[in-house]
């Protein structure tokens, strides 16, 4: 009987995988998202190859220069190469954003699994915690937390995790409550499989899809949060290149060198667009037929 249950589960997963393989190239938002984000990630990964200057090295004799063959996008107020800072900024911000989404994803998913599966007081306490966190606006809470904890990437991870896990917990819990009444779970239960095995081997693969889709749009929020914190001087610390800090540093020059703030701003918009498209595409692809 237990073997039968696992076969059913695997069949469901296999069906998803099959559908995914068949349709991804016919989903424009997915293709668009992957291409934009792929280019960004590629540039970030290959940063040392696509730039000619150290993003932190200053040249105080050649500040605020327009584009030249050596500095493609010119230099900033401290004579640093804007193109290098933009590319290395992508490296910093994308890395921080992906890592920042990982912790809440894992924690939230686990909490959602357990609270949805067992219900009872565990579920009550979890809901209570979730409601407390949800009561505050996302950015307000993140900024307040980073302000209290102090600036720097480690504290960004902590703040985003404290705030971010609730969404995953809610999504996964909802899915689990529905899924745990389905036949393959009932079958697994009556076959006497351990709770852990049911949770991780059978339930998790079936409920995680929505969490993954959400994670993609969550990265958009995280990137915006990281850039906002950088802009406020609470995020990634100098001299490391970061889009938020670039926007803030360039703000004084808005009426004379508008590009200093505008270019990193455009980079944020493009990245957010890529991630949003990707999230849409994934949602389309993974939606059960």
């Amino acid at each position: 009987m237990s073997i039968a249950a696992e076969v059913v589960t695997e069949a469901v997963i296999a069906e998803h995988r099959h559908g995914f393989r068949r349709r991804w190239y016919r989903t424009p938002s997915f293709v668009g998202g992957v291409s934009i984000l792929g280019t960004m990630v590629l540039l970030a990964v290959l940063a040392p190859l696509v730039t000619r200057h150290d993003p932190t090295s200053q040249d105080l004799l050649h500040t605020l220069q327009g584009p030249t063959s050596s500095h493609w996008l010119g230099t900033d107020d401290l004579g640093r190469d804007v193109w290098s800072r933009l590319v290395y900024g992508a490296r910093t911000d994308l890395r921080v954003a992906f890592l920042a989404v990982l912790f809440p994803f894992v924690i939230g998913t686990l909490v959602g699994l357990v609270s949805g599966f067992y219900g009872g007081w565990i579920d009550t306490v979890t809901n209570w915690l979730v409601n407390i966190v949800v009561a505050f606006p996302f950015y307000v809470l993140i900024i307040a937390l980073v302000f209290a904890l102090g600036s720097g990437t480690r504290n960004i991870y902590i703040a985003i995790t404290i705030v971010g896990w609730v969404s995953y917990a809610r999504i996964v819990r909802g899915e689990v409550i529905v899924a745990k009444r389905r036949e393959y779970v009932l079958a697994a239960r009556s076959a006497g499989l351990s709770d852990a095995r049911i949770l991780f081997r059978h339930l998790l693969p079936n409920v995680i899809t929505q969490a993954i889709v959400f994670a993609m749009s969550d990265i958009v929020l995280d990137i915006l949060a990281i850039v906002t914190l950088g802009y406020l001087g609470l995020g990634v610390q100098p001299p490391t290149a970061d889009w938020g800090k670039m926007i803030a540093d360039g703000q004084t020059f808005l009426t004379t060198h508008w590009e200093l703030s505008t270019l990193p701003g455009i980079a944020v918009v493009i990245t957010a667009l890529g991630l949003s498209l990707l999230a849409d595409g994934l949602a389309d692809l993974l939606r059960p037929e």
Binding site: L64, D77, L78, G233, Q237, Q251, F253
Partner: protein, 518 residues
């Protein structure tokens, strides 16, 4: 005042002003007609922050002080050079031989904006109240023992000891004259809408938005002021202030950023003014952090900072590297103070002599959103990296930053100073005397030899000998590298070219009675 926000001032003038005003007006607008002041019109001044209080005796913020100075005036005022003291509400004074008694004769015909004449009783009351303010500016009046009023236009100050900076102290805005017994109001109520003898009188305030003053019809300088009303707004974003100025919504833009100076100079309809100032910017080193208590480390850091490069890239050339903790506009500034200048070889040699030759980690406090600090911080971070000193940024909002430096809760931090009186004593005591109330500019620096020189200079009434004492003091302080003197910079004010006679004195204040619209 020392500052981040706070600051201060007082100041100046006499007949010279009219001529100078005319000259300035002429330079702003070459037509002959423009040189004759015209009555009428109102202006708006957009500032970087809102006023905190109008209690001149207790407030340390420039954006408050500069408004109180339009309402309340002292007996003497510092002139356009920031050094000479000119009679204002007094017409003159005589000094007893022992240097401990000053007798002032009050100007005739001076009236408060409520129409009542000013008498010696008002003067005594005003200064007695100012010197009683222990948490305010009272410390500058510490030499006064008592004040007597033998006649309605005579005031006598009895000092505890001969005190060289006395006249400069009397010219402080905190010693401005107000009506006896606050014109029958409570102290608190009075300072919500103060009364004085100044060119402008209280009109209205919208907290968080604006302060408006109107023309004082009883002003003692005949024909002045020319303007009917002046409104101070606050607009934190510098780009917005600039756009408002160009759009004619405001006539004065307080502190446009350094990078826009060149452009504003050639913007039609805008006059970009750079006035000689007493502003000096510093990098403070807190000696409670052990590496910074080592004089060799402090010298190494001072040598490692390329001030000329900072002036060029951060100030866009609108400044000068500093060589003393005193600015050139203050009396007894010494051009030969010998403040350490950029020299990486010497920096490395000094660090090698210290106990921290291998380098160390140090935290630099930077105001969030403070562009100049952020840029300078990054330049300094890169310079010190060459010495093996790892600078880590700690960003705080500017008021927290200001408080943390005041509590000596920092390692490296930026601060600046502008003078409030035409005498070095105010800054010298604040900066090098651990008993001065600020732990030597919040650094913990304590060199008894320097403190002794300062005390001697306070009581030395011979200007030549005083100059020698202060020169010696500046040299020793520079050699101890107790602060990093970074640069001197001018006051930056962009005005509408229709506005004439707007001039900012080295102590930071401006005389709106001379301003007019052409």
């Amino acid at each position: 005042m020392q500052g981040k926000r706070p600051l201060f001032f007082l100041a100046v003038v006499s007949g010279v002003v009219l001529a100078a005003t005319a000259a300035l007006a002429a330079s702003a607008s070459p037509t002959h007609r423009a040189a004759t002041p015209k009555r009428g019109g109102s202006i708006t001044i957009a500032r970087i922050e809102d006023s905190q209080s109008f209690d001149k005796t207790n407030v340390f913020q420039n954006e408050s002080i500069w408004i109180t100075e339009q309402i309340m005036e002292p007996l003497y005022l510092a002139g356009k050079d920031g050094k000479t003291l000119n009679p204002w509400l007094a017409t003159g004074y005589s000094q007893a031989k022992d240097g401990k008694t000053y007798t002032f004769t009050l100007r005739k015909g001076v009236k408060f904006s409520n129409g009542k004449p000013m008498t010696s009783a008002d003067v005594k009351f005003s200064i007695d109240d100012a010197r009683a303010q222990a948490k305010g500016w009272g410390y500058l009046d510490a030499a006064i023992k008592s004040i007597t009023t033998p006649s309605p236009d005579t005031v006598v100050f009895h000092l505890k000891f001969a005190w060289a900076p006395f006249l400069a102290d009397i010219a402080l805005f905190a010693n401005g004259i107000i009506p006896n017994h606050f014109a029958g109001q409570s102290r608190k109520a009075f300072y919500t809408h103060p009364i004085g003898t100044g060119p402008f009188m209280w009109d209205k305030r919208v907290v968080g938005q604006s302060v408006t003053l109107k023309r004082n019809p009883f002003y003692w300088q005949k024909g002045k002021p020319y303007l009917d009303k002046v409104t101070w707004t606050f607009v934190t974003d510098e780009n917005t202030r600039e756009l408002q100025l160009r759009g004619g919504q405001i006539q004065v833009d307080e502190f446009p950023p350094f990078n826009s100076i060149t452009k504003l100079k050639s913007t039609p309809g805008v006059t970009m003014n750079l006035f000689p100032s007493t502003r000096t910017d510093y990098l403070g080193m807190n000696e409670s952090y052990p590496p910074l208590a080592d004089v060799h480390v402090r010298r190494a850091i001072s040598y490692a900072i390329d001030r000329a490069a900072i002036v060029k890239s951060v100030l866009f050339g609108y400044g000068k590297p500093a060589n003393s903790f005193l600015p050139p506009q203050v009396p007894y500034y010494s051009a030969n103070a010998g403040g350490l200048q950029y020299d990486m070889t010497k920096a490395k040699a000094e660090l090698a002599k210290s106990k921290f030759a291998k380098g160390f980690k140090v935290t630099l406090l930077v105001g969030a959103g403070a562009q100049v600090e952020s840029a300078m911080g990054q330049v300094i971070q890169q310079s010190l990296k060459g010495l093996g000193i790892n600078v880590v940024f700690k960003q705080e909002d500017t008021s927290t930053e200001f408080n943390d430096i005041g509590k000596r809760n920092y390692q490296l931090g930026f601060s600046y100073w502008t003078m409030d009186i035409a005498d070095p004593d105010e800054l010298v005591t604040f900066a090098i005397d651990p008993a001065g109330g600020a732990h030597s500019f919040y650094t913990g620096y304590n060199n008894p030899a320097v403190v002794k020189l300062s005390h001697k200079a306070q009581r030395e009434t011979d200007p030549t000998k005083r100059a020698q004492l202060y020169a010696q003091l500046q040299k020793q302080a520079a050699s101890d590298a107790f602060l990093n003197f970074l640069y001197y910079s001018p006051y930056r004010w962009a005005t509408s070219s229709k506005l004439h006679g707007f001039y900012v004195y080295p102590l930071g204040n401006y005389h709106l009675e001379d301003a007019w619209l052409g």
